[in-house]
Symmetry: C2
Subunit: 340 residues, 2 copies
DNA sequence: TTGAAAGCGCTAACAC
DNA sequence: GTGTTAGCGCTTTCAA
């Protein structure tokens, strides 16, 4: 059994309090006593019991991240990188990270959020993949529970977030394609229920309009962010409107699926048809042809989100409660050259 | 402030003990009293304080996963899928998952493991990416701390693990290439310090020998599991020994990098040179050409590892302490057709 | 059927 | 400087 303060105290014949203070480095402990305490603690291999300390301090020094997972074959590289970002930032400030995996919108997910606002689980929460009028954010706000969101949602109150500027990102991308001479540009959008889909869609509409390009409803199809759905979506899209000369995909994974499908149909991506993605996951530079996409610094976003949460948990007001980062356009071969 | 047992008790004018028992569903509480307790608890929005309960129970109902992370651009899809697997299994058994990110072999990582064996952090630990004579496993074993490993290592004692059979996997893959007529097969191996590299290398050697194929040291180069390193490694490999007709990569990410590099050099993968990977990440079916690889059910491995740990944490002996799963060969276009 | 009391391991206000 | 005491919120003997 592991040693406790009591063990040290009784071994030394002094009180638990003194031991506690000696270990904590208070200066009202005699240097000599302190020395003996330290020695005995080391000898006994004393390690403070975190739970006891947490009960006393009324804080867990733990941050929570409820990760939306889908089926078994769920492995979006986004999450590895995001977790690495928040995890490293948390570790740096001596916070633990509790990760809870649940299907989005599920009953379990609801329970997880209910649990979070319960005391003694985590001190604060990171929310991602926001949805319209996001019930999770509503819940956290109602319970006055500390949280930071990666993404925005349309709720009638203030809340701290970090987000990509999806509108600006799409603006860069659509403009790039328009400049190459494309006039019929399709869009495989991410699930409509996700807020970032709305912004990306908005950016698409805006920039098409700004270039006096028409937008036909058939040019827009929806995917679920996986490669497989990208392949299926592009099939539907091209079957319905073969005259499309460029396809923007809501994320790189879908773009990879779309490219694969187009190639299977015997067309050459970057020549017969331009394809672009969103995210700039590491693979996107290595697929064939390399993918034109919008770069998002996921790791940095994770860090920043976490840093903001740590501020809030500690009662500090973050300098900037709303960080909006503009993605960078990365032009590679998949968007081809001018078709004018 | 959240409601406590005390609040309910004083509101009802009964003792804390009775409230506790009523809520816990003990049958020695009068039905009517129980009813009133339940109602008041609901009215007050009572949620048990987890820390207090944990202190009392002397267990955290939390499992730990110390994730080896590398630089910022770290986003191996493996981890997303693995975490989803352990996370979902943990959630099903009402365990929380604590994820701690650290650079492998770092001082911080050591501290994290030291912390783990401290009481009150987690009840058990999942270890992955084993290394030779893995100090983490040594540490956990010495402290008699519950853990399960994904991977094996060479320590002189028994420990529970789930692992892929890397030797058998490579056997399938090398044989496939040999059957296609390849005689000069290069190997971009994963970092030599990782145990799975050893097994994969062993399988490569064994099967080359079984087919009476020579192995030249120059045919083997090392990568660090990223796409970038796959590209660099294949460059080195082909510069040193251009006569190689097939290249096996230690994982799919490196294979993607290798394919890209080969294509940049103007060669056709699957025709001029065969390439294969290991893991069967979702992307591997969608790259161009699609990747021949060995399928590993990462999600299932995660689940199984976690299930085993939960057994151990609860003092049950898992049926099978050593699970060895043979990867499945997935043949796609990157390995081409017979060159005989 | 209910309550009083102890205790999980720690910290902190206060007294000596 | 050091010890006494109380208390964080809960569970669990043991009495009543």
């Amino acid at each position: 059994m592991a040693a406790t303060l009591k063990d040290i105290a009784s071994k030394l014949g002094i009180s638990i309090t003194t031991v506690s203070r000696g270990l904590a480095g208070y200066d009202d402990v005699a240097a000599e006593t302190r020395q003996r305490i330290l020695e005995t603690a080391a000898a006994l291999g004393y390690q403070p019991n975190l739970i006891a300390r947490r009960l006393q301090k009324q804080r867990t020094d733990t941050l929570g991240f409820i990760m939306p997972t889908f089926g078994p074959r769920f492995s979006d590289p986004f999450f590895s990188e995001f977790i690495a970002g928040i995890g490293n930032e948390a570790a740096e400030h001596e916070y633990d990270l509790l990760v809870s995996t649940h299907a989005p919108e599920s009953e379990e997910e609801k329970q997880a959020y209910a649990r979070a606002t319960q005391r003694g689980w985590v001190d604060g929460l990171i929310v991602i993949r926001t949805r319209e009028n996001d019930s999770r954010i509503l819940h956290l706000h109602e319970h006055d529970f500390p949280f930071v969101v990666f993404g925005r949602t349309d709720v009638p109150f203030e809340y701290p977030y970090v987000d990509e500027d999806g509108v600006a990102g799409m603006q860069l991308l659509v403009q790039h394609l328009a400049d190459l001479g494309h006039r019929r540009i399709g869009f495989i959008m991410p699930p409509a229920g996700l807020m970032f889909s709305q912004y990306r869609l908005q950016g698409y509409y805006d920039t098409m309009a700004a270039n006096n390009l028409p937008v036909i409803p058939e040019w827009i199809v929806e995917g679920d962010l996986t490669q497989r759905s990208g392949a299926e979506a592009v099939k539907r899209l091209l079957a319905a409107t073969p005259q499309v000369t460029a396809v923007i995909c809501g994320n790189d994974l879908m773009a990879m699926g779309a490219i694969n499908q187009i190639q299977q149909d015997g067309k050459t991506v970057g020549v017969d048809i331009a394809v672009a993605g969103f995210d700039d996951i590491p693979s996107s530079a290595y697929v064939n042809p390399p993918l034109t996409t919008l770069h998002q610094p996921i790791y940095e976003i994770g860090r920043q989100t976490c840093a903001m949460l740590i501020d809030i948990v500690n009662g500090r007001t973050p300098e900037n409660q709303h960080a909006l980062l503009t993605p960078t356009l990365i032009v590679r071969a998949s968007s081809g050259s001018s078709i004018l």
